[in-house]
Amino acid sequence: MKCEELLTLLNEYVDGTVDPAVCEEFEKHMAGCNPCQVVVDNIRQTITLFKDGQPYAMPMQFREKMHDTLRKKWKEKHPGQ
């Protein structure tokens, strides 16, 4: 396996969906290619960092307004409850 091929299989490898035979070749290549190994590490860290990042907080005022609207709609849809 060459670095270029590894690059095209990167997603499947990182997501754990790569074919086991291909996975073995992938890891063999990485064992002998430090840059590829670091790139794979970097990609994993990048994904983790974005996944664990701070979410945007929803404004409270908007939240209350939305819940009022939803309750009103609900009652229109379920009259008599």
Binding site: K2, C3, E4, L7, T8, L10, N11, V14, C33, N34, P35, C36, V38, V39, D41, N42, I43, Q45, T46, I47, T48, L49, F50, K51, D52, G53, Q54, P55, Y56, A57, M58, P59, F62, R63, M66, H67, T69, L70, R71, K73, W74, K75, K77, H78, Q81
Partner: protein, 214 residues
Amino acid sequence: MANQFTPETSDTELVRRAKAGELDAFEALTNRYEQRVFGLAMRMLRQEQDAEDVTQQTFLSVLENLEGFRGEASFSTWVLRIASHAALKIIRKRKGLNTVSLEEATEPSEDLNSIPHPEFIADWRQSPEHLVERNEVRRLLDDALTRLDEKHRLVFLLRDMEGLSIQETAAALELSEANVKVRLLRARLQLREELTRVLGDPARQLIQSHHHHE
């Protein structure tokens, strides 16, 4: 009635009870997912008013269509799909594309042969667990996301930040799975490149010509 649901009450149970007409169950579902929907909308649209509109539309649509929800996908996936559709509509309107698919209208399909090669390769100086706490890192992440092409950003948002599968991301964005995969790879590589230039340890940069290595 108000506090009969605990975090352990499953979505399936709440959906069942909301379908049976229990407003409290519907509100519990809304409480559970509104932050996530708002966060996704903010990241897709980067405009608070639009994100609020999308959030409200999403839960109105949930209210209207809950009866038809058969549980083929999880409730969370279903809600995120509704939200991303609503956000896409706004994106298209901004671009003046009302009916055309986002995909074909803007570019020829991409393929794996034109994937840019990693350039700056170095171990990071700190682990993501440490980095995520720092304010300047937060800004770095936002800036890097902003610099992504929209078509790459949307895929990365849904797949990697929201945790949808490739198939679910494709369905939500009305793209082919093949296209989602290529865009995801481009997004991940570009983000890796930008983050590593800042977070990588220059002393440990690997200068070896990656391109020709066998």
